[in-house]
């Protein structure tokens, strides 16, 4: 995965590596040049020497500045492009017609994979060039030092990494502490957000003061944790500061003695001290790149897990013969909660299915839309088993409208037309779902949250009706609608769907009373069938399920 990211952006990554290396080289040159200017100009050179060397310094700055600008930009561009490509790949996988990326994954976790993990994996495209360039900077510094003096060079080259290693060691317990601190901080933020989310409830029961006290408690706990962590971090940083100071003192000692015995010049001593300080920079950058790679590896694992998850359903290769008549037949179905269910739905029939068990209702709708295949038995459409058909083709013929279907951001009309339904069809659908009463233009907010629950349900219903599929399966479409409106909707559905197969999975009497036939399922199979009125009259258990 990581290699793919690099090769996918190889030109940008290569450019960024070269430019970043030039930047590091320039940064390394600055202390060296300061030393040279001290030696050649300040310590007894002429004005011309000074001008020449200042010009060289200027050239070094020009190189480091330009290469930094373009190196960083190309690197960041590579990161963004790689993350973008991953996001799209993940989106495609998650929306795959043959099933989502594993049943155990919650939407929130998948979104995290598509945003956070994709970005972290993309970071490889910056971490690699910067890491390589930093190594280059270390080499340049090393060569410069070794050319001045072998012992001084070795001292710096061994001492600096050891210093960073010590930093790493010292940092590990700190990291653990900072994690627990973050947990506490997140908890405080979580409690605050939770209280705000429940603000109406709190105000309704007058629990403002107890709620404030509860938040204060959590906030104080969080404060204790953060202060403890901050103290640890302060001492960690200072210890490093101290160690760096001692390291510089040792370099000064060795360099000073070498200079005093004329083995190196004063300028070289200055350069050596400067380089010892400078080298900590690229070395830390190497460590950073290493850390990013480790994080990216973990993220890449999560992305690969999603992408490589096999689709939940086998593909089907057969086509449906068009036009679809809408004859649906279930034979000997055994699946969750169903034990040998047989059911024949005639083309154009308005059938209602009543089951006291919500999980059975869900199983049924999943079977109709082929988001799952039955363990035994077959679901057929116009005589063809659904399991032999491409799920995408099944859904073009059978639209399953789940009761918790989502609306999407945009206007109400956008949600109903979906860029494909014709104007008069949409109008009829809106009327049938009684959506004409709610504002049609204007944004409905993220997931339609600007609408009330009842309004959302009616818009979703209008969307299904406007799609006008040969077979429409509606699961509890009116649970949040008042009785009078529900009655109108029931009539609307019946009239609009006249002549096209429609299945209502519901326990609502208003809807049941418009169905041609009602099938009452109990203990996994058909217990009774007939009209709503007949069943109410004859079946006490039916009565208790649908009436209240």
């Amino acid at each position: 995965m990581l290699r793919r990211v690099i090769t996918g952006q190889k030109r940008l990554v290569a450019t960024s590596t070269i430019l970043s290396a030039a930047h590091q080289g320039g940064e390394a040159l600055v202390p060296i040049l300061i030393g040279v200017i001290i030696d050649e100009a300040v310590g007894g050179g002429t004005l011309v020497d000074l001008i020449i060397w200042i010009a060289v310094l200027g050239a070094a700055f020009l190189v480091l500045s330009t290469s930094f600008q373009y190196g960083t930009r190309t690197g960041e561009l590579a990161v963004e492009r790689a993350a973008h490509a991953l996001r799209l790949e993940l989106t495609t996988r998650i929306l795959h017609p043959r099933g989502s990326a594993g049943p155990g994954r919650l939407p929130g976790a998948l979104v995290n994979v598509a945003t956070g993990d994709a970005q972290r994996v993309g970071m490889v495209a910056l971490a690699v060039p910067l890491g390589l360039a930093a190594l280059g900077g270390v080499v340049i510094g090393a060569v410069a030092l070794l050319r001045m003096s072998v012992p001084l060079g070795l001292l710096v080259l061994i001492g600096a990494p050891m210093l960073l290693l010590a930093a790493h060691r010292l940092g590990r317990p700190l990291q653990r502490r900072s994690e627990s601190e973050q947990e506490h901080a997140a908890q405080a933020a979580g409690v605050a957000a939770d209280l705000v989310a429940g603000l109406r409830v709190l105000k309704g029961i007058g629990a403002e003061r107890p709620a404030a006290r509860r938040y204060r408690r959590v906030s104080r706990d969080s404060l204790t944790a953060t202060q403890r962590a901050a103290t640890a971090k302060s001492w960690h940083d200072s210890t490093l500061l101290g160690l760096t100071g001692v390291f510089l003192a040792v370099v000064a000692l060795v360099g000073g003695r070498l200079a005093a015995t004329q083995q190196i010049t004063v300028g070289e001593l200055v350069a050596a001290v400067g380089l010892a300080q400078f080298l900590l920079g690229p070395l830390a950058l190497v460590a950073w790149a290493n850390g990013e790679l480790a994080q990216a590896r973990a993220s890449a694992g999560r992305i690969t897990a999603v992408l490589s998850e096999p689709p939940g359903l086998p593909a089907g290769d057969q086509d449906l013969s068009l036009p679809v008549r809408g004859h649906v037949r279930l034979t000997g179905i055994a699946a969750d909660g169903l034990t040998g269910l047989d059911l024949d739905i005639a083309p154009g029939e308005l059938l209602a299915i009543v089951t006291p068990d919500q999980s059975v209702a869900t199983t049924l709708t999943e079977l109709f839309g082929r988001t799952r295949d039955p363990v035994t038995g077959t679901v057929e459409l116009d005589g063809r088993p659904l399991s032999t058909l491409d799920p995408q083709a099944v859904r073009a013929a059978v639209l399953v409208a789940e009761h918790d279907a989502d609306l999407f951001e945009g206007t109400l009309l956008d949600n109903v037309t979906l860029d494909r339904a014709a104007g008069d069809v949409v109008r009829q659908a809106l009327v049938a779902s009684t959506v004409d009463e709610v504002a049609r233009t204007g944004p409905i907010g993220e997931r339609g949250r600007a609408l009330s629950g009842g309004q959302r349900q009616r818009v979703a219903l209008a969307r299904s009706l406007a799609a006008g599929p040969p077979v429409l399966v509606l699961h509890d479409p009116t649970t949040a609608v008042d009785a009078v409106t529900e009655q109108r909707i029931a009539t609307g559905i019946r009239d609009l769907r006249h002549g096209r197969t429609t299945v209502l999975v519901t326990t609502s009497p208003s809807l049941l009373s418009v169905a041609d036939r009602v099938v009452f399922l109990a203990s996994g199979t058909v217990r009774a069938a007939g009209t709503h009125a007949e069943l109410v009259r004859d079946d006490e258990e039916y009565q208790s399920v649908v009436l209240s």
Partner: protein, 583 residues
């Protein structure tokens, strides 16, 4: 859904006075922190002087052993600097974190006291974003930016002092860089801030799109919307990439300009060194020290200037928090009602938008202990009337008296409790949720309340009983269970008047029956207003009040109204009862 009135944002004066108020009790700590950090930085600057001294010793041709003394001093300086900086940073953290904690607590206190109208007008999204994103932005600034900024600024200031001590002309040379830096910062903050704001918006909208697409993947598959959603994600993602890259471009230009300032300043210091050494007013060591001082300024200057946008982001968040904390607190009322919990509503008017009245002159009297059901189509004004009686909203016109006392003189919450349509289970142990209603309740009292609303059995069956963590991130409760909890809270508070707004609307029929029994229990002995969505609740009420378009059209018992030919209620009842012959 017109333009939203967001919550206020503080003015600069309000913000400063809020910061001063937070700082005042911590004055001693602040002074000590600055003193210790200053001392630490000052000690650190001796390092370069000692290095310069070594250079001078070498140029003077002293023996190698002469180096030892300054090196020992270097080690001592390193230790001293480390100790002072560790101590100083600890103090800064204690100061900053303490202030932050107090600020967020004040914020939450204030939010909880806000009138509901105001919260709803602004949308809870705004509040949530302030309490999470803005608090985080300030915390980040306090945790990382503040100590770094403190250290950098001190280093810069003291280095400049150090340059003066060497020779005032070195300072003049170094200051040549300042105009370039100032110009760069102005250039940057003018461009970067709007750009970063735009970038955050585009990244946020990309994440939101992913949330919608991924969260709604079932719907996308059912309706075969894959291409459309892929396109939406791609568009938003490209937009985010585009804005991020613009931000990167400005940031890299910013540092490139600072590079120019570095070069100009360094060259000026070196030239000054050359001239001063030539006319004998400085040694080579001094010139070296000056050059190293200036080279040592690169990092702290970049850090300090780079923190400009962190600081501005924190400032933007701070004004949003202080905006809320400095809102005037609503006056507290202490009056309690007499024994008789009556409700008198007189000519009450209310509108959410000026020309769209929701209630038009509603008058209603409810006797103590009476149960009244409010019915009517959606949009008739039931919920609004319920909210006004419960005091969570203030009417535009007319008066409401509870037990004879005007509602705005009452400590409303001791008198009336409203359970709204919205159910929320507070994250944490279930017992904590219930104790929000009554903090001093014993476990036994909690159990009694749960038993009364029929929730005792399932609560006992939870993994940890009353201690089970529920709500966001915890054990998920069904809608029915959550509503039983809400009723249990009501039982625990035990108010004389209770208002129930469609508390059984979305539970499904089986749950509805269970809840109706729980409602009976919870309302026993109280004056009750029930917004009835399921007409079964109207049947059991003492009186039914039918609202239509903001007016009371009919009032009477269920039997009276249902028998009235052509009555509104009779029609409603017919639609409800037709398919429910058993009822």
């Amino acid at each position: 859904m017109s333009e939203r009135t967001l919550l206020p944002v503080a003015t600069a004066a309000q913000t400063w006075s809020a910061v001063r108020a937070l700082l005042r009790p911590r004055r001693g700590l602040a002074v000590l922190a600055i003193a210790v950090l200053t001392a630490g930085t000052a000690i650190g600057l001796v390092t370069v002087r000692l290095l310069g001294h070594i250079v001078d010793l070498v140029t003077e041709g002293r023996p190698a052993d002469a180096i030892t003394a300054p090196v020992v001093a270097l080690v001592l300086v390193a230790i001293g600097q480390a100790v002072a900086s560790g101590f100083g940073l600890t103090l800064v953290a204690r100061l900053g974190e303490g202030m932050l904690a107090e600020l967020r607590e004040r914020f939450v206190d204030r939010v909880l006291a806000l009138p509901l109208d105001q919260v709803e007008e602004a949308g809870t999204g705004d509040l949530t974003s302030r309490v999470t994103n803005d608090v985080t932005a300030i915390a980040t600034a306090v945790r990382s930016a503040l100590p770094e900024l403190a250290r950098s600024v001190l280093t810069i200031a003291l280095t400049l002092v150090g340059l003066v001590v060497l020779d005032w002309r070195f300072l003049l040379a170094a200051l040549i860089a300042v105009p370039i830096q100032l110009h760069t910062v102005r250039w940057y903050s003018g461009r970067a801030l709007p750009l970063y704001a735009r970038q955050r918006v585009s990244v946020g909208s990309m994440q939101q799109q992913l949330q919608e697409t991924v969260g709604g993947s079932g719907t996308v598959r059912a309706l075969r919307l894959q291409e459309r959603h892929h396109g939406l994600v791609r568009g938003r993602s490209l937009d985010a990439v585009d804005w991020t890259m613009r931000g990167v471009r400005v940031l890299t230009q910013f540092y490139a300009r600072l590079n120019l300032a570095e070069f100009v300043g360094l060259a000026a210091v070196l030239v000054t060194g050359f001239l001063l050494v030539r006319d004998g007013s400085a040694t080579i060591g001094t010139a070296t020290v000056a050059a190293l001082y200036f080279h040592g300024l690169f990092v702290p200057i970049n850090t300090a200037l780079g923190l400009v946008d962190d600081a501005q982001a924190a400032g933007a968040s701070l004004v949003r928090l202080v905006g809320v904390t400095s809102m005037p607190a609503p006056p507290e009322q202490n009056a309690q009602i007499s024994e008789r919990a009556t409700i008198e509503v007189e000519k009450v008017e209310h509108a959410y938008q000026p020309d769209q009245p929701v209630l038009r002159g509603v008058s209603l009297e409810v006797a103590a202990g009476e149960r009244v059901a409010l019915v009517g189509a959606s949009g008739a004004g039931k919920t609004t009337l319920a909210g006004l009686i419960a005091g969570v909203r203030t009417p535009d016109g007319g008066t409401i008296r509870l037990g004879g006392t005007p509602i705005d003189e009452l400590d409303v919450r001791r008198t009336v409790v409203i359970l709204s349509q919205e159910v929320h289970v507070f994250a944490g142990p279930l017992a904590d949720d219930l104790r929000l209603a009554r903090p001093d309740a014993t476990d036994d009292q909690l159990s009694v309340a749960l038993t009364r609303v029929g929730a005792a059995d399932w609560v006992a069956a939870l993994p940890d009983g009353l201690g089970t963590v529920v709500g966001h991130g915890g054990h998920r409760l069904t809608v029915t269970q959550a509503q039983q909890l809400a009723l249990a809270r009501l039982v625990l508070i035990d108010p004389p008047i209770a208002v129930l707004d469609e508390a059984t609307a979305e539970a499904g029929s089986a749950g509805a029956r269970l809840l109706e029994a729980a409602v009976e229990e919870a309302l026993a002995g109280r004056t009750g207003i029930v917004v009835a969505h399921r007409l079964a609740q109207a049947v059991t009420a003492d009186r039914v009040v039918l609202l239509d378009a903001g007016r009371i059209l009919e009032t009477g018992t269920h039997a009276e109204l249902a028998a009235r030919p052509d009555g509104h209620y009779a029609k409603l009842w017919k639609a409800w009862a037709d398919h429910r012959p058993g009822c």
